[in-house]
Symmetry: C2
């Protein structure tokens, strides 16, 4: 089935039932993505103000067989928001639907429209004395709809789960243009198939999320942050176990940082204050939020002492002020920017079972070493088994000189991940970048079920064509 372009005739038809300023030509940021790997096919941009307008847009696209690309904050890292080829699509940005519809602290619920910026949702929760724990580097521009469509992760997954785990209900427009009102605030509702979780993580290929009921949490009474030098990734895992035994669910983030990342900061972001005089080979950033009656500094102090005794730590810093906490987090949060400035040959967002992490790190370096001489910056959410594993040229080298090694590196690392029962996309999703990888490494039975579900809910294939599953329009792959 071939799609039709969002051409002038289609635009004219839409203008008959929509306010004048909803439509405009798509250009600029709507055609770009952060890594510059895809440039979007220009098309028609729609900026609806209500779910009814979204419904009308999608229904018209369905009738005209025009592809629809939902657009949130544009921060996705796998090209899910960027259609590079095929007939010109209708790009549907939710940015005007950015209201916080309700904050209900007594129910621990917040209802936001899909275009609400993640940081604004966090702030609205905080104003009501509650925590919305989804937190990631792009939270200043990522929008709630996009974080749900991609089941975003971030630094607090260890304690609070992925975006999927933070959502109670959805309002969405399905591919036929009809509105599903599933905006429930219920903690328990066993009435039929889990359409909510089907849309979450489907990256806009099964419908457009227009609003969400989100879970809030009590704000932990007191937070604490520490940077601890560990002798190895294995020791980092043992330290995590120890921390969870001592503080239970109080451990909210546990991030592994490799020396290479700290050296990159020195190289391209020298203003970021380094925690240790000499960058250690491995260190972890621990964040804890404890209940009333417990002192996080004391708890981290005693954890550190135990870790020293057990050979799981050799040095450490426990933040004594908010400024110090911010400084520790600044190190972690500037790693992606430093990576961008250095320019990676290949970057990977992988997960493996926790126990297999040290093996992956060791064998991954061997695999990369067999292909050539590179610098590896391996860091991330080790508590979730999730590593951002990025491969860079040697000092003075240029990523452009390694274009031929990119594919072999990716293949070797993904083969290794697969052999360890891991995932080739832990938190960024499939988008357009990993469609072929999903075909290669995904379970064939699951893939067939996905294709059957896609065909059942979107028979014309208009929703985000070529993302996640290879589209009829041949728009997948990179």
């Amino acid at each position: 089935m071939t799609l039709n372009p969002a051409d002038d005739a289609f635009a004219a038809q839409l203008r008959e039932t929509l306010p004048d300023d909803v439509l405009r030509p798509a250009e600029g940021r709507y055609l770009e993505e952060p890594r510059g790997l895809y440039h979007g096919r220009s098309g028609l941009l729609a900026l609806p103000r209500s779910v009814e307008e979204v419904s009308r847009l999608v229904a018209a696209a369905q009738a005209a067989r025009v592809g629809v690309v939902p657009f949130g904050g544009g921060t996705g890292l796998v090209g899910g928001q960027t259609l590079p080829e095929g007939p010109a699509p209708l790009i549907l940005s939710l940015e005007r639907m950015n209201a916080i519809r309700a904050v209900l602290p007594s129910e621990n619920v917040l209802v936001a429209e899909a275009g609400a910026i993640l940081a604004d949702v966090q702030a609205a929760a905080a104003s009501a004395g509650r925590l919305f724990p989804l937190s990631l580097a792009s939270e200043g521009s990522a929008r709630i709809g996009g974080t749900l469509a991609t089941n975003a992760g971030g630094v607090n997954v260890l304690r609070y789960g992925n975006a999927r785990d933070l959502c109670l209900g959805l309002e969405a427009v399905l591919p036929d243009g009809r509105i599903w009102n599933g905006l429930t605030r219920l903690r328990k509702d066993n009435t039929g198939y889990d359409l909510r979780n089907l849309l979450i993580g489907a990256e806009g290929t099964l419908g457009v999320i227009t609003a969400a009921a989100l879970k809030l949490w009590p704000v932990p009474a007191r937070d604490g942050t520490a940077m601890i030098v560990v002798p190895s990734p294995r020791a980092a895992l043992d330290l995590l176990s120890l921390a969870r035994e001592r503080m239970g669910e109080g451990v909210s983030a546990f991030e592994l940082i490799h020396r290479q990342g700290l050296l990159f900061l020195t190289e391209v972001l020298p203003d970021v204050r380094q925690p240790f005089a000499t960058p250690p080979e491995w260190c972890v950033l621990i964040e804890v939020g404890l209940a009333r009656g417990l002192d996080p500094s004391e708890a981290l102090q005693s954890l550190f002492a135990e870790a020293l005794d057990a050979g799981l730590a050799s040095d450490g810093l426990i933040a004594q002020s908010q400024a110090q906490r911010d400084a520790f987090w600044s190190v972690r949060e500037h790693l992606p920017e430093a990576n961008r400035r250095i320019g990676s040959v290949s970057s990977h967002d992988i997960s493996v079972p926790l126990g297999a992490l040290p093996e992956f790190i060791e064998r991954g370096a061997d695999e990369v070493g067999r292909i050539g001489r590179f610098r590896i910056n391996c860091f991330g959410h080790v508590g979730d088994g999730n590593l951002h594993y990025n491969v860079f040229p040697m000092p003075g080298g240029d990523r452009a000189d390694h274009a031929r090694e990119r594919e072999p590196i990716k293949r070797a690392l993904h083969d290794l991940v697969d052999s360890l029962d891991g995932s080739i996309s832990a938190e960024h999703g499939i988008g357009r970048m990993k469609v072929e990888d999903l075909e290669r490494y995904g379970d064939a039975v699951k893939l067939d079920a996905m294709r059957a579900i896609k065909a059942a809910l979107d028979p014309a294939g208009i929703m985000n064509p070529g993302a996640v599953l290879r589209g009829a329009a041949g728009a997948s792959g990179s």
Copy 2:
């Protein structure tokens, strides 16, 4: 499309590829359900020992167009495990697939086959120093596959979530007989549609769950239990808020109990020790599990003192020993049995947004009162907005005398739930009992999407025909 019976010819065909003792006639407990509302259509019983055998059975049923009824512990309360009419089905009991395949405390993961009994999974976790928090009255006979297929809830949802939230990965046989190996232990894996959550809660209508990777938690360092008399359901909610502000996620259960339930215990289970000399109109059972360094008795003591000051409590007991804790829980856990012995006219498993709970309780009693004179036992997981709301004859009355009032009561209560944006099935599911209710109260767009998904994955309609969605064989409804 009409299904064919699991007749002798079908059995003979199965016997060609399966060990002799896998098949036998279905009788006894495989045709019954706890409330005695459905009696199953006799058919062929299969007791497979492996996922490959399940695969062969389902593939054969698919080819022969024979209905398949998956059977776990048989404890479901909505007839999902009992096909009362239509062609004789293949009843597929997972009871022989009851192995705990792996316990991985360092990863906080346990892998169990679908037939493992819930209490055995809890015990296996405990032996490894971990907690598997799913806990419900029938845990001694409910099997993991069934608890996942129905997305079971129970008493610890407040802290740990529903069955869905406790599962990392599934192995399942899809309606075409193929095996989906989705038994991942990963905390983060964004590779395509969420088939796991689609099967969880689908009540066996989209496939058969054969094994699951489950999440484990650290065992809270110290538990505490209290029974507190509250002046009203509203006060109970305020007390819950206060408890969560003081103890954060430490509050693991918060159960509301009405005087009627305590009086029922006195009437039919007099050996159950009553906590208060005079049964109070409303009380709550609170369970907390706190981290090292905190004393749960002290925390509950100070919560109680604050609640007294704020007028949220008038009396209370804090358990001082394991025996007292067990006694408090025994009261809660015997309520369903007491209800059974009294014999309800109508029972309801509903949820409403937390803030609407007091209104539901008040208006629900009015609605029931308009229909006749009844005793109401309203109790349950108030922290989740989930009430078991059961209506009984007056003393000396017989449920049989109220058969004509059953439907009006149900309708009035479900209309009320619906008007409050609640759910007519909070944790028990749809099964066959609530198919019509789902059609009446469910979102039409969601229902169409469910039908499309069912048709896409199970075009012949063999999987648990008539459960959740009205089946071609007309086996739905009661």
